[in-house]
Amino acid sequence: MKFFSFYIPTVVFSAINLLVLYMIMKKILFTPIINFVENRKKLIKDSLDHAEHQKNEAEALRKDYEEQLKAARMAAEKIVEDSRVKAEKQHELLTQVARQEAEEILVKAQEEIQIKKEQMLKELKAEVAGLALAAASKVIEANMDNDKNRRLVDKFLDEAGAA
């Protein structure tokens, strides 16, 4: 057979070979790989979508919790504030009551002092009168000169003034 000659059986056999090879390769190599890669792409896309969805959900949940936390914190602050105000009011009230009581006590004490003072003055006057009487009787008893007499009276008057 010459190297540059057409030989129809070779052409026909080659064509059959190529077609058979094409069909086999398509069945065992290309279709499985293409389908497999396609499926894997879909799978990856699905899981990515799923992850994205879950992330969004978690984000929403986090925001929700944050809001709840904020509300709770505000409520707590309000409670603390309220109780502080209440305590202050009570404190003021108590202070006022105490002050009033103290003032009352003070007033009473002053009144008492006043009463005592007046009493003492009364007693003192009685005493002075007694003394004056005694002194007068003494003056009368003794023969006293004018000078001495006057001095006595002065002294008495001084004493009375001092009391």
Partner: protein, 248 residues
Amino acid sequence: MNLSEELTIAMSPHGLFGFKIFGMEIFVTDTIFLMWIIMAIMIILAMLLTRNLKLVPDGKQNAAEAFVEFMQKFSKDNMGHHSKHFVPYLGTLVLFLAVSNTISIFNILPVGSLMKTITGNEAFGELVLRPPTKDINLTVILALISIILVIFSSIRFKGVKGWLQYHVEPSVILLPFKIMDYFVRTLSLSMRLFGNILGSFILMELVFAVMPAFVPAVFSIYFDLFDGFLQAYVFVFLTSLYIGEAIE
């Protein structure tokens, strides 16, 4: 036997065994037999590569996926949106041509004598692993299939009317050229492949005859491997370009 006679024998296809149909003796040539070997290699490789596909690919699955995805991208670049129908054929073609063109680097394997001892057929003694694409009968049918595929895909995706219209666009003057295109393309596809592979084959045989050691290995890297892969790529690239032009 001198060198030129040896070369002529090496270059020529020869019948291995024959059978009679309608009184005609039909021979199965070594081209066909080599095709069978290459098909067997490809099918076994494909089965190994795609056995139990896993979600997280390992080495061999990566290779198969990378090849298929390369062919998908290649087809999409050259043919646009209908490209997915052509991926299996173009992929098969490029694999077949790449193995065919470079199979002579394994010609040290004693396939011929092995077959001779198995079958007892004397004709197998001549069988050496040579690229089957150096036989013009194979390259012609490859080119014909490509052109038939171009015509069929054009009719399939644009309808008979669209396909006929393609010949008179943008002007009727182009009609003879467009018709001539089919023959020119068949001729150029088949002759380019045949000439390149036969040429590098002859060159390698000559180099081997003159300097049997070391030097052929260096030349083989260019003439067998590089040229073989390049021609496989060029053939598939041109086929995809023709298809892309016909279906756009």
